[in-house]
Amino acid sequence: MRIATLLISMIVLLGACEKEPMVVEKAGLKLTFKAVYDSEPLLLSRNYEFMNGDSIRFQRADLIISDISIGNSKNVSLSQVEWLGFSEKNADPSKIEEGFSFNFNDVEPGVYTSLYWNIGLNQVQNRSTPANYTFPHPLSNAELYWAGWNSYIFSRTDGKLLTESGTYDFSYHTGGDILTRALEWNQNIELKAGEVKEIIIYIDYKKIFVQDGEVYDIKNNLSSHTSAQIAVAHAIADNMKLAVKYELK
């Protein structure tokens, strides 16, 4: 008897559903950002073979990214700000493959031709300060704000270069509106209703220092904190852009 009632109500319910206006099904897009060193997952505090017999070890590897969107004839904004805190995540050997994934489940199906994002913030975002946000919003983190620049620290790439002549601590921080780097990947991304497509975005920490065989002179440019070292910051920001690789799953 109970089952009959249940069945009847289910049928009624189902019938009711059918009459509802057609909901257009949306598509999903998953973006996963991974830190690698020469295609291996990056593990913090591990010595990696660098160039000319030197080794390199990373102590911090973090980025603030912003204005993530995909576009065809019109632009679809996916996210304003995200935090890629590899310093914390990639400290854990069991998590280094994971990366940071962001799921956008409400995207209009269609063929998109580009993915856009920034390393760093746009100018409007960069006028805010940690006091404007509440933990755990990434921009609430005072550690990422550098009052001297009136800016967030867009990227931190800190570590040690281990050479025969000694250990060199490097600390590359980028920040200030002019150091935001806009990235664009031109690729047909077909998003189908009810399906989730994944794009993996790799940031290769070796490539930040080695581009086409050309090795960045870490020893003589150990940090990028002051205005006098702005050229270093630009070089690192530019190289970081070139250290990005995409894979459409």
Binding site: A91, P130, A131, A142, A147
Partner: protein, 370 residues
Amino acid sequence: MRSCIILLFTVLIAFSGCRKDDPQVDDPIVDLQNIAYNPSAHTIPIPPLFPQMVIPADNPTTQEGVLLGRFLFYDPIMSRDSSISCATCHKQELSFTDGLDKSIGIDGKVGKRSSMSLANIGFANRGLFWDGRVSSLEIQALHPVEDPNEMDEKWPNVIRKLQVHPTYQQMFRKAFGIKNNKEITKEMVAKALAQFQRTMVSAGSKYDKFIRQEILDLDNDEFEGMSMFNDNSGGALKDGGCAHCHSPVLFTADNYFNNGLLTDAQQAMTQTRFNVTGFNSDMGKFRAVSLRNIALTAPYMHDGSLASLDDVIEHYSTGGVPSTNVDGLIPEHGAVPTSASEKDKLIKFLNTLTDTEFINNPAFKNPFEQ
């Protein structure tokens, strides 16, 4: 005002009356439902330029909860022999530290670490203690009672002492709405202590007045010290890099770093952040604590190994001891202030972080002495 005094007086009498009570296992159940349970919200004022404070949804701050927390904080009832309260090691006049290199608990036992300032502790979101092994004030507050080097009491005993205590029965009723005295739990004790500690906001220093533009300027030396602290002198002065790990306005990055205090061998024998996470990258790391009221909290570091601010600046200007995981921001060859006048300026700046309003704030004082 007068009723307040009478109330406090009664409370005091009640307390002194009960101190010597030896709680019985089969203590009577006291129905408390005739006492009104009507807690009023206590809004913690967030100073301009400060971040918002994250308050757990299951422990909203109330006036009754804060008052209870304050009594508990100052009450040695929490320790085995009624000799030690939280305030023994967290003294208001020292920004809630104890002035010792290693804290001394019950029976004169010396602990493993130096006490920590509680100024602005409600803003800590990424772990407490030097190694970050607890995640919230509610969890932290459960620790000292059973720590053999601190209060060395068993929670069931503390709870029994509180349950038979007429004043606490009332206070717990008013703060948490318990129906009878048997409903007092250690979680409630922890919640009340957490509520009280969240109210310990320090934002009345000279530095605060400067950034809020209530005073127009710092002294020249202080200002230059601040520039060094923030790497903001445009090359005119040495950069201290301090703000990377002691980020304004709370003067803590709320994170863990290896600032070069211990050699690899010493790190291996010490409980550091590594012992909490197990990650190699956390070797030798400790919490970069807030530098607010730093002039009041000597000796310094987790082990109290640096006696004065002079010693601290000396430590940073020499880069400390080398080790595999020492932070690159603590370089032996770095730009950290080295001349006597640079060190002096940096210390003068650190002195502007002293908040005498905070250490004299009546709201944080011992309620048993007021």
